[in-house]
């Protein structure tokens, strides 16, 4: 359980980091380290070079300008969880982060690291997809903005190059009469979830759904949005019938299975989590039927 040998680099700026990554062969970027360090200790990862981006101040912080939120890629999960300003605009982040690992791993773990590791059950990539967010990356070819919908290319494979680093995540929040909620089921608190669901919705003055977004994590290699069901829900009251419409979004999905959880079981759990999240989101938006 000891890491292999590697050369250690600690760039002080984004430009230094990208210059190093362009030059070095077989380098890994060390963000919060809460996935890379176990992979090093178990020797799943065998980099010749580790580029530690923890001392680049411009990569951290939360900025709120109107409805637009920017979270630096190296912002610690614990700092996102604790941000009262973010909680006021997007309370689902605090709620979902309580399921991310444990206090000790959230002290170090970052949102950019979570996105770049892209575990299928990870909560933060699911939230970025829920908010139609954008991941900003920089590399030798300059800056790129990657929409959340294009971020997951495959199993633990995000759309970022080995010579690029993520710099920030941006997304917009809704205002008005809105609600959001996150639910997941894991065998033990902090374990990777069997499935999880995030819902945000906005009601019009008549109490009908004006806008809705629903995301599932754990069911496929990357977060899944239920876009057809979302469209079908607009204009409806957020009642029990609406929850049935929401759950119908799971019907066409091919769901992951593993030794502990069959696809059918995981799909069932995802549906239960979705219904719970939908109900709570509707309640926090002030609906009476849910």
């Amino acid at each position: 359980m000891k890491s292999p040998q590697f050369a250690y680099h600690r760039p002080q700026s984004v430009a230094d980091a990208t210059a190093l990554l362009a030059r070095l062969e077989n380098a890994k970027v060390l963000a919060g380290g809460q996935s890379l360090m176990p992979m090093l200790n178990m020797r799943y990862a065998l980099p010749d070079h580790v580029v530690d981006i923890n001392r680049i101040p411009e990569l951290s912080g939360i900025t709120i300008e109107g409805d637009r939120i920017t979270i630096g890629a190296m912002t610690r999960q614990r700092d996102i969880e604790r941000s009262d300003a973010l909680f006021a605009r997007a309370p689902i982040f605090r709620e979902a982060l309580r399921h991310v690992g444990h206090i000790q791993t959230r002290s170090r773990g970052t949102i950019g690291g979570s996105l770049c590791h892209l575990d299928p059950a990870a909560e933060l990539p699911g939230l970025v997809r829920l908010f139609d967010g954008t991941v900003h990356v920089i590399g030798p070819g300059g800056e790129r903005s990657i929409a959340a919908t294009d971020w997951g290319l495959g199993y633990m494979t995000p759309a970022i190059g080995a010579d690029e680093i993520a710099t920030a995540i941006t997304f917009n929040v809704w205002s008005g009469r809105r609600g959001e909620a996150f639910e997941e089921f894991a065998r033990r608190h902090g374990d990777f979830a069997i499935a999880g669901a995030g819902v945000r919705l906005q009601l019009d003055t008549g109490g009908h759904i004006a806008r809705v977004a629903m995301v599932l994590v754990g069911v496929d290699v990357a977060p899944v949005r239920l876009l057809e069901a979302e469209t079908a829900l607009v204009g409806r009251a957020p009642d029990a019938a609406a929850i049935a419409v929401a759950k119908s979004g799971l019907d066409p999905l091919d769901v992951l299975s593993d030794a502990q959880n069959s696809a059918a079981y995981r799909k069932h759990i995802a549906g239960v989590m979705l219904a719970r999240a939908f109900r709570r989101a509707a309640q926090s938006a002030g609906a009476h039927h849910a």
């Binding site: 359980m1 000891k2 890491s3 292999p4 040998q5 590697f6 050369a7 250690y8 600690r10 077989n26 060390l30 380290g33 809460q34 360090m37 176990p38 090093l40 200790n41 178990m42 065998l46 010749d48 070079h49 580790v50 530690d52 923890n54 614990r78 309580r98 690992g101 444990h102 206090i103 000790q104 791993t105 002290s107 170090r108 033990r188 608190h189 902090g190």
Partner: protein, 169 residues
């Protein structure tokens, strides 16, 4: 292909950090994690290493006020940091930290292997929140495995220490 040049892999890095109030300036191997650095280099063997992949929580130490897993941070990354291990929880002349006294009073340990991580985790948690609910205490130690106590006595100790820290003890 994993073929680092020997010089590159073995290049040591000079770091300065404070551990339990004592300043240290040491050269470290980049691959050494903070847990091994504390135990092997500084001979502070109070920090226990269980799984070394971030699951058991036994190696928890407090870095710049935040509880972290010492197996999941490189020693070289602690350059400039202030680290508190279980050896640093007690006050001057060995007066136990309230969480340590509470563990003794409530039998919060049996074999003792998880205890350093439990104490550091709870000391950091109680520094943030001196009025936790039982559910909050259980969530706070959800990343620390104990195979002896069933957690009940640990939770009781934490709630009792919180009372002491609020000045009600």
């Amino acid at each position: 292909m994993h073929d680092p040049t020997p010089e590159a892999g073995k290049a040591r890095h000079a770091i300065s950090l404070t551990v339990n109030g004592t300043a240290h300036a040491v050269d470290v191997d980049p691959r050494q994690h903070l847990g091994d650095f504390l135990r092997q280099t500084l001979q502070l063997t109070g920090t226990h290493l269980g799984c070394e992949h971030g699951v058991c929580g036994a190696c928890t130490v407090i870095v710049d006020g935040a509880p972290v897993r010492a197996c999941l941070i490189l020693a070289v990354q602690a350059d400039g940091a202030s680290v508190t291990t279980v050896e640093g929880l007690a006050g001057k002349e060995g007066a136990l930290h309230p969480i340590q006294s509470a563990f003794r009073a409530h039998h919060g340990l049996q074999c003792g292997f998880c205890t350093p991580g439990m104490l550091t985790t709870l000391a950091a948690f109680l520094a943030d929140n001196t009025s936790p609910t039982e559910a909050e205490v259980r969530e706070a130690i959800s990343g620390n495995l104990c195979r002896c106590t069933g957690y009940q006595t640990i939770v009781e100790a934490a709630l009792s220490a919180a009372q002491t820290l609020r000045g009600e003890g």
